[in-house]
């Protein structure tokens, strides 16, 4: 056994996770980008993306996913999502009001590029929800575990 298998769950879980975690991530992106056409949207898609990182974390042990996406970067991404949402709302002030849909007649209803700023707002909310949830997960679980291991 190589050193990689010392942390996390068994080899079966790791192999299945390696095959499926990309698909879960892709499904989250699909849900976000089609939020204005089909069921779903920024909330559900953001939580799905956070769950794909959580899946990596549970299968491979804490160090892998915390290496891809550290606690500091979750804070930065969450703030970026919030700022993007607020910026879209503030640009609307130029055109008539807070949260004015200034891009609106930009495509046929039903196409991927339609509905004005709603897809952009979906992306902002998904960044915020996904990074916030993954930051909570890292704080509550992974870092706690490191702490209790270093005490022993």
């Amino acid at each position: 056994m190589s050193k990689e298998h010392e942390h996390g769950m068994s080899l079966i879980v790791k192999t299945v996770t390696r095959l499926t975690v990309g698909l879960i991530f892709l499904y989250g992106i699909y849900i976000i980008l089609h939020g204005h056409l089909t069921p779903g949207g920024g909330f559900a898609g953001g939580v799905i993306i956070a769950l794909s990182f959580i899946n990596l974390d549970l299968a491979f042990g804490g160090k892998v996913s915390a290496g891809i996406f550290s606690k500091e970067s979750t804070g930065v991404v969450e703030a970026l999502g919030a700022l993007m949402f607020l910026a879209l709302a503030l640009i609307g002030l130029q055109y008539g009001g807070f949260f004015d849909n200034f891009l609106h007649p930009d495509g046929e209803p039903g196409g991927l590029v339609s509905a004005g700023i709603i897809p952009l707002e979906n992306i902002a909310i998904s960044l915020k929800v996904g990074a916030g949830l993954f930051g909570i997960f890292l704080t509550l679980i992974v870092l706690q575990k490191f702490e209790s291991e270093s005490k022993q």
């Binding site: 089909t38 069921p39 949207g41 909330f43 209803p109 039903g110 916030g132 949830l133 909570i136 509550l140």
Partner: protein, 117 residues
């Protein structure tokens, strides 16, 4: 059968959650009670929005759907935000429970009171 039967079952679910909050000693059980009560509130809003024989509030490009046949979309939007807020507050309650466990070494709220001071 009463025309309000789903609402009554939903109220019973809410009361089960409140019962757990009022009478249990274990902090994890109290968190579970809050989660169950929150689910019951979300369910009540969605039940209010349902229209018998209605369709989901999504238009299609290939098929014409009459707007009058749709269920009420407004409570759906409110519940969508409420669910995510519920997850955030649950996480905050878990953080408080972990801190209390670290300080007192127990999840029993009555013994936390004895150890005060």
């Amino acid at each position: 059968m009463n025309a309000h039967m789903p609402y009554i079952l939903c109220l019973i679910l809410f009361c089960i959650g409140i019962y757990a909050v009022l009478s249990k000693r274990n902090i994890i059980k109290i968190i579970l009670g809050v989660v169950i009560a929150e689910y019951a509130v979300n369910l009540f809003l969605i039940l209010v929005a349902y229209k018998a024989g209605g369709r989901a509030a999504i238009f299609s490009t290939t098929e014409h759907i009459a707007p009058q046949s749709m269920v009420d979309p407004l409570p759906h939007a409110l519940v969508l935000t409420s669910i995510v807020i519920g997850l955030a507050t649950t996480a905050f309650m878990i953080a408080l429970a972990i801190r209390l466990y670290g300080k007192y070494g127990t999840f029993d709220i009555t013994r936390m009171r004895e150890l005060r001071g």
